[in-house]
C-alpha cells in the first residue's frame, strides 16, 4: 500500500496524504502520467473521509502535481512543473539529510530534531540566550 496517513498525529489528514503522494512521485513509486486511486476506493481502503481525499486531490491539482480529468480520475502530471517540484524537493532532501546527520552526530534525538524543524517553520527562534 502506497499511502498511510495517521489520523491521530494532529496533522491534517489531507496534508499527510498530499505529502505521501508527493513522496511517492519523488521516489518513483508513482510516475508522470500514471493514475492515482479514485476517491471512493482510496477512502474505503484507508478508511478515511472521502471529502478528505477529495480535498487532498484538489490541493495537489492546484499545486500542479496531479491532473484531475473529468470522469477519468486523477493522474500524476507529466508537465515541467511537477518535474521542477521534484528536483526542488530532491535538492532540499539532500540539504535536510546533511543537517539531520550533523544533529544526530551531536546526540540530538530525532524527536528533538522534529521539534526544532517545526519551531523553525512556525517562525520561532530562541527568545533569549541560555545562561551557564
Amino acid at each position: 500500500m502506497l499511502f498511510r496517513p495517521n489520523p491521530a498525529s494532529g496533522v491534517p489528514i489531507y496534508l499527510q496524504l498530499m505529502e505521501q503522494v508527493k513522496h511517492s512521485i519523488e521516489t518513483g513509486a508513482l510516475r508522470p502520467g500514471e493514475q492515482l486511486p479514485g476517491i471512493r476506493p482510496l477512502a474505503e481502503e484507508l478508511v478515511i473521509n472521502p471529502n478528505t481525499v477529495a480535498k487532498a486531490y484538489r490541493e495537489l491539482e492546484h499545486e500542479g502535481v496531479i491532473e484531475l480529468r473529468q470522469g477519468a480520475g486523477a493522474f500524476v502530471s507529466g508537465n515541467a512543473r511537477a518535474k521542477e517540484l521534484t528536483d526542488k524537493v530532491r535538492a532540499g532532501q539532500t540539504v535536510v539529510a546533511a543537517v539531520v546527520g550533523r544533529l544526530r552526530a551531536r546526540g540530538v534525538t530525532d524527536e528533538e530534531i522534529r521539534r526544532l524543524f517545526e519551531a523553525e517553520l512556525a517562525g520561532l527562534r530562541k527568545t533569549g540566550e541560555r545562561r551557564g
Partner: protein, 299 residues
C-alpha cells in the same frame, strides 16, 4: 460541496425532572459531511438524537432537520422518512431471520435500494437464514447498517455504532460508512466516545459536554488552529494573564508554561515574548487532547 445544513439546533434545552440533560445545545451539520458527535457518557448525545428524531420533546429551543421542525408531529414524520437511524441497542425483530427482516423492512420504503441490499449482504457475509436473535453483536450491527443504508436515506443517524465491537468489526463498520458516503449523497451524524474513530472517518466534529456543544467545526480546521505553545523560563514560570483570544487553558509546571490555543500560536507568542522565556516551541495537538482539555473539569 453544498453548505446547506441538514441538522441545525439552537439553544436546545431538555429537562428530565430535576436533571438538565441539555442546556443550550447549538449544533450545525452541513450536507454531505460525516459528523462525529463526541462526548462522555451522560453528556447529552442520546437526548439530542432523540429530539432530532421526534422521540423526545425539547423543553425549549429549536431543532431542525432538513429545515423541518423536529418537535412538530407532521414534519417529524417527514424527517423520519428521510432518515436512517441505528440505535445503540440495534433494536431489530429478534424472531425474524435475516432474509425476513430485510424483506419486511424493504416493504416500508418505496425507494428501497435492492442493489445496496445485495451489495451489503455479500460484503457483510450475513447468513440470510439465521434468526436475528442468534446473530453476534457484530453481525447485528452490520444488519442494522444494511437496513439503514438500503433505505436510500439522505441522513444517517447512528448512536454509538461501534460500541461493543472488536477492532476488526469496528474497522469494517467504519469502512462501510465511509464507502457508503462516497457512493451516495448522504450525511452521517454519529455519536461516539471513541476519539480515534471520529479522528479517522469524520470531517466534522461536535464535542458535547454537560449539555452543550463546547467545540465544533471541521476537523482539518481544528487540527490547524489548535496548538500548544510551550515556554521554558530560567526561573519559575510566571503566571501570566494572557489576553489573546483563543487561550483554552494555561498550565504552569515549575519552569514550564504551557498554553493551549484554539486560534493558532501567533497572538500568544506576541504576548509571551514580553515574559522573556528562554525557549519557546509550538506543538501540534491531537483531537484527543482537545477533547480531554474540553471535557475535563477541575471541580
Amino acid at each position: 460541496m453544498a453548505d446547506s445544513l441538514v441538522i441545525e439546533t439552537a439553544d436546545l434545552r431538555k429537562r428530565y425532572d430535576d436533571v438538565e440533560a441539555l442546556c443550550g445545545l447549538s449544533l450545525q451539520v452541513p450536507a454531505g459531511s460525516i459528523c462525529g458527535f463526541l462526548g462522555r457518557n451522560g453528556a447529552g448525545k442520546t437526548t439530542t438524537i432523540k429530539i432530532l428524531l421526534g422521540m423526545a420533546r425539547p423543553t425549549s429551543g429549536q431543532a431542525r432537520v432538513f429545515g423541518l421542525a423536529a418537535d412538530r408531529p407532521e414534519p417529524s414524520v417527514a424527517i423520519r422518512r428521510r432518515t436512517g437511524f441505528v440505535s445503540e441497542d440495534k433494536d431489530l425483530y429478534d424472531g425474524m431471520t435475516v432474509e425476513e427482516i430485510v424483506r419486511y423492512t424493504a416493504a416500508f420504503y418505496p425507494h428501497w435500494r435492492v442493489d445496496l441490499e445485495q451489495r451489503y449482504l455479500r460484503k457483510f457475509e450475513l447468513p440470510s437464514g439465521r434468526k436475528v436473535k442468534a446473530l453476534s453483536r457484530g453481525m447485528r450491527t452490520k444488519l442494522a447498517l444494511l437496513l439503514a443504508f438500503s433505505r436510500g436515506a439522505e441522513l444517517l443517524i447512528l448512536d454509538e455504532p461501534t460500541s461493543g465491537l472488536d477492532p476488526v468489526v469496528t474497522e469494517e463498520v467504519l469502512q462501510a460508512i465511509v464507502g457508503h458516503v462516497a457512493g451516495a449523497a448522504t450525511t452521517v451524524f454519529f455519536s461516539s466516545h471513541q476519539i480515534a474513530e471520529v479522528d479517522q472517518i469524520a470531517d466534522r466534529v461536535a464535542i458535547v459536554d454537560r449539555g452543550r456543544v463546547a467545540v465544533a467545526g471541521a476537523l482539518e480546521d481544528l487540527r490547524e488552529t489548535y496548538c500548544r505553545v510551550q515556554m521554558v523560563f530560567d526561573r519559575d514560570a510566571p503566571e501570566p494573564a494572557l489576553r489573546t483570544p483563543g487561550v483554552v487553558r494555561t498550565r504552569r509546571d515549575g519552569r514550564v508554561l504551557s498554553v493551549l490555543s484554539s486560534a493558532g500560536p501567533e497572538g500568544i507568542l506576541d504576548e509571551a515574548r514580553a515574559l522573556g522565556p528562554v525557549s519557546t516551541e509550538v506543538v501540534a495537538v491531537t483531537l484527543k487532547e482537545i477533547f480531554l482539555e474540553t471535557v475535563r473539569h477541575e471541580d
